[in-house]
Structure formats: C-alpha cells, structure tokens
C-alpha cells in the first residue's frame, strides 16, 4: 500500500474530489503558490493540476476567506478553504460560527452551506501560542458545525472526502506534526464516515479516548503498559461532533475505566464533554474515577523545555491509567 504523510493524504483527497466534482474549489493564503515547496504539504501541486481558477490564493483576509466559503457554498459550489493555523480561526470565526453554523437552521432547513474549513494545529514547533493553540472544543461547542480531527493519513483521506460531500459546514483540523510521518493509505476511492469513532487498539482494562496526534502518545503508552499486564483500549474519536457516543459507551462498558487524552488545554476542553456523556449514560459501567490527561491551562510557550512540559506525554498517560487501574477495583 502507498505510504503518505497526513498532508499528502489530504492532498490526494483534494485531488480526487476536485477531479470528481467541478464544483469543488479551494481558497486560502498560499494554497497555490506558497512560501514552502514540499510534497508533504496538503496543497502541493494543486494549482498546477487545476489552475488558478479553482485554486485561489487569497490576501491575508481570514474573515473574507471564510465568508467566501459561506456565500459560495450556498450558491452551489463546494468550497474547501484553508485557515493557515488554528489560532487564526478566531479571525474567521464570525463567518463560520455565526453564519455557516446557523444559517441552515435559520432558513428552516431551506439553504445549505456545504463547506470545509481546513486548519493546521498542534504544538511542537517552537512557534509559540499564536500559532499553536488547539481550539477544537470551541468549534465543537457550536451546533451546526461538524468537527473532524484525523490521526492517521488513511483516516484523513477518507474523512476529508466525506467532509467535502457533506451538506454541512465541516471544520477539519490537521495536526502539523502528522504531515511528516508517513503511514499506509489505500490508493483507491473510499469514504470514511464522519461521526464514527474507531477503535485503534483493543484492550480489556481501560478505555483511552483520544484524537489527532495524541493517538500516537496513546499507542506508545499502551505498548509500555501491555508489558506490565495492563491492556488499554484506544478509541480514536476522529470526529468530535457529531460525537460517537455509542462507541465510547460500549468501550467503557467493556473496560469499566475511562481516561481522555487531548493536547488542548484542560478547562473547557473536550474531555469534559466525554466525561459528561459517560456520567449520564454509562455511569453504572464505571469501576473507577474518570481521569483526563491534557495540556495545562496555559498558552503554549515557545521555549523547548516549556513546550515539552505543555504537551501531554506517555508518562502522564501511564500514570493516569495506573492510578485508576490500581485503585479502582
């Protein structure tokens, strides 16, 4: 099977969808001609294949980029727009949060806004907090949006294709670190459903729910814990909203223990939502208290030791798991 980085998988999805559907266009800062040329980047080579009429380089104008998507989507196109980094979502958010997310409902279901907003996210580049701030929980808090955060290249391809074909606005967040680690991606055409979590590892002792790059931290921890006789089940959420409650609840029913792992900051983070779902609908299954492993409540600092301190790691996850496995009966 071909091996692609997550950015390349996104690239393949974009190409396939643009070839399939002439309504699909992309727009954003540097999506045609950018400052970096690398085959690992999501929009590499697209302007060469599809031309500047469908691959639109825009000025540095996030509100207009997002609004362009809203207007063009209602008018029958299939916009896939890029907001360079997740923190700049704040500049685009009026159009996405107040408009894309609400207007279909407000029209009584008559108008629709099938658009995708792609963004890079994730710490680990020493760029500091104005480039590295994971805001997925903000987007997930808005009814009317779907929020997708793939962790593997294969999922990224299938999910982005589904996102482009979805009748609703989809926020699609790509962890930049994943661009550079190739993984297997089926060559053929396939769609990965939005709203379905994926059990990436089976285990009987504890459920770890995670998404995006943190999946790989979970894998590392699972490996080590397996050596100590603790079997972790890893639920890769893939989609924050709509949330796949069934898969989470079924896993917790099996293991009786739940840890949520995310890179975003703690307070108001999406771990809280997952905990609430399990409290409401899966409480009798729990044999031990819920734990979450997240970034601390600080902006992401630039200096490497500080940034490493910020990013949740295997040791923290292992400690959380052991605590509830050992004390939780």
């Amino acid at each position: 099977m071909q091996k692609l980085g997550l950015g390349q998988a996104v690239n393949q999805a974009l190409r396939e969808e643009m070839r399939r559907d002439p309504r699909v266009f992309i727009a954003g800062e540097g999506v045609g001609v950018g400052i970096h040329n690398s085959p690992m980047l999501p929009t590499d080579g697209l302007v060469e294949e599809f031309g500047p009429g469908r691959v639109k380089d825009t000025p540095v104008s996030e509100a207009a980029i997002a609004g362009l998507a809203v207007g063009a989507a209602e008018a029958g196109l299939r916009p896939v727009v890029e907001i360079m980094f997740n923190p700049f979502f704040t500049l685009a958010s009026d159009m996405i949060v107040n408009h894309a997310a609400k207007l279909r409902y407000l029209s009584g279901g008559k108008s629709s806004f099938p658009l995708v907003v792609r963004m890079k996210s994730g710490a680990g580049f020493g760029a500091g907090c104005q480039h590295s701030h994971n805001l997925e929980a903000w987007a997930a808090h808005c009814p009317g949006l779907k929020v997708v955060m793939p962790s593997t290249p294969a999922d990224a391809k299938g999910l982005l294709k589904s996102a482009i074909r979805d009748e609703n606005p989809v926020v699609f967040i790509e962890n930049m670190g994943l661009y550079f680690t190739p993984g297997p991606v089926p060559q053929e055409e396939y769609l990965t459903p939005i709203g379905k979590a994926d059990i990436k590892r089976q285990g009987r002792d504890v459920t770890v729910v995670t998404w995006s790059s943190m999946l790989w931290v979970a894998f590392g921890a699972a490996e080590k814990l397996a050596g100590q006789g603790i079997e972790m089940e890893i639920v890769d959420l893939r989609t924050l909203t709509p949330l796949d409650k069934e898969t989470i609840l079924a896993s917790v029913k099996k293991t009786g223990r739940l840890v949520v792992l995310h890179e975003a900051t703690r307070t108001g983070g999406f771990a809280g939502e997952i905990a609430a779902v399990v409290m409401e609908d899966g409480f009798p299954s729990l044999k031990a208290p819920f734990r979450r492993v997240t970034g601390p409540d600080i902006p992401v600092p630039a200096s490497p030791p500080l940034e490493r301190f910020y990013i949740p790691d295997e040791e923290q996850l292992i400690a959380a798991v052991k605590e509830i496995v050992e004390t939780g009966g």
Partner: protein
C-alpha cells in the same frame, strides 16, 4: 526640516546594529537545534524601524508584528535580552515564553508584539486612546506589513483612529510581498497610502529605504498627532530581500528584482552620504561597525551561555 548630525549617526548605528544582529541570526538558525521556531528577518528594511523610532520620545509606544527585531532594537531594547529570548532562554526578555515571534519589551514602551497579522493595529488604537484619555503628549506607532492592510482590522482601526482623532501613526512597511504574494497579487491599489483617504486621514508615501525620509515623515506625523491632528498612515516602500522566513527559498521572487533592491540597501545609502558630507570618517564608520559587531557577539554569547528555563517554569506568570 534640518536633521542633526547626531540624529543621523544614531539612525545609522541602529541600522548597522540590526543588520549585524540579523546576519548573526541568519547563520545561527541554520544550526540544527540552536534556535527553535521560525526566523523572520528584515534585511534591507532597516530604514523603516530605525527612522520611525528615531523620531519618537522614550515614552512613545510602539506595537509591532512578526518582523520585529529592527523595531525593537531601534526603540532601545537590550540586544542581549532580545537575543536570549530568540534563543528561548530563561534570561530572555520574556523568559522563553515568546521566542522570536512575540517579543515584548515594555521597558522601552514596546509592551506587546503580535504575530497575528493585523493584530497590531487595533492594539495601537487602544494605546493611543489611553494616551489621549490621559492627556499625555505621546503617540503610538504601529508597524505592520502590506499584507496586514488586507485584514478587516486595518480598516476598522483606521476608521476608529480617525473618528476619534487618536495620536497613532500607522507605519505600513510595504516590502512588496505578503508571504509568497507580490503586492499586486493581493491588492489592486497602487499605493496603500491611498486607503487613508477612505478614512479622512493623511496618507503619505515614503521611500522606505531612505531612513531620513522615514524619520522626517514620522516627525511630522508625530507633531500632528500630539497637537490634536489625529492619525497618519505612512506607507514606506521597501523590499523584502530575504524570504518570508529563513526556510523560504524565495522561488517566487525574481532574482533580478532581489538584486535591484539589494543595490538600494539603506545602510550604504546613508553611510555614503554621511562620509561624503564629512559627518563621519571612513575610520569612524569602521569603528561603528566593529562596535555593533561586538554588541552582537556579546549578545550571542550571553544567549548561548544562558540556561533554558526549567520545564515547570511553564506555570510561572499564569494569572488567570
């Protein structure tokens, strides 16, 4: 306006210091693991910050952006503390929290730097409002690029500053590129200064490689601002001789365009003039360069010898 010899020499010194500072960074950032994050330099644009800041009083404020080194050095920031912060060390001006992108030096009235394009403008409006509110004879200079003039924040800020006649000077550093986009690929106007007229504000076009012209325009804008004349937009026409950042190979910038602008370098432009006018001797100039080189060497040494912050220091300076 007559510009004193001392002032001219001060501006030359600032430009030379900036150039040496950034030339050192351009080399250092190639060494794996030496400097985290991005490296965004202003080679060829030193006249803008050096001229504008030379026209300011110590208590005047500057708000700058991702390409900030020159602005901050020109405002008087300590080169060692800046360098250490760029190295992400604990002795840096922001204890390693910022790195190169968000250098804050309130000690010299450069209280915050934002790398969100267009973010500097509304903050500058707020600073200027406080200056007006507190009846201080002070101004705020806001530095931003041509790309930032496409953000909504540019337009909202100019309108509000004009409406309330705030003492703010919008210094647009039009280096002909915003990322990989040439100016005429991201805006139809020939001059961004034109946009000032939409907000009933004076808009001036200045040769951004002529530090004396930048100085003069800023002096006039300052004079107007502190006497109730409100804001000014100054568009400094200059050129980004390097890539957007050091990882940008400039594939989209024509070679001859770069070379044409390298010849317009603001530093020899002023130093030749000062030498020919006898305001500085060739030896004096050499000495000035050596001194700037020493300051930079010392700053680099300080940065290199300084420790990284301890991991738990990530939790310091958390107030909310």
């Amino acid at each position: 306006m007559q510009i004193s010899a001392d002032k001219k020499i001060e501006m030359l010194q600032t430009m030379i210091l900036t150039r040496k500072f950034e030339d050192a960074l351009a080399e250092l950032c190639k060494i794996e693991g030496k400097i985290p994050g991005m490296m965004i330099l202003c080679t060829g644009q030193e006249a803008v910050g050096s001229g504008a800041c030379a026209a300011l009083e110590p208590l005047d404020v500057i708000i700058t952006n991702h390409r900030s080194h020159n602005h901050l050095l020109a405002k008087g920031a300590d080169p060692g503390e800046l360098m250490a912060e760029i190295f992400c060390k604990s002795t840096g001006c922001n204890k390693g929290k910022s790195g190169t992108l968000h250098l804050a030096v309130p000690e010299v009235c450069a209280p915050c730097t934002t790398t969100v394009v267009g973010g500097s403008l509304p903050i500058a409006v707020g600073q200027a409002f406080a200056q007006q509110y507190r009846q201080q004879d002070r101004v705020t200079v806001c530095f931003f690029g041509d790309g930032a003039a496409d953000e909504g924040s540019f337009h909202e800020s100019l309108n509000l500053a004009s409406l309330w006649q705030l003492p703010v000077i919008f210094v647009c550093e039009n280096n002909l590129y915003a990322g990989a986009q040439r100016f005429d690929e991201h805006a139809r106007v020939k001059d961004l200064a034109q946009r000032a007229s939409a907000y009933a504000m004076p808009g001036r076009i200045v040769d951004g490689n002529d530090v004396l012209a930048v100085y003069q325009a800023t002096m006039e804008a300052r004079q107007s601002a502190v006497t109730g004349g409100g804001p000014t937009l100054i568009e400094c026409k200059t050129y980004r001789c390097r890539g957007h950042g050091e990882t940008d190979q400039q594939l989209y910038q024509p070679r001859d365009e770069i070379e044409k602008w390298q010849k317009k370098c603001p530093i020899p432009r002023l130093s030749d003039e000062l030498v020919s006018q006898g305001l500085i001797t060739p030896d004096g100039l050499k000495e000035m360069e050596t001194r700037a080189g020493d300051i930079v060497d010392q700053a680099v040494r300080f940065a290199e010898e300084s420790p990284y912050p301890l991991p738990e220091e990530a939790l310091d300076d958390v107030f909310a």
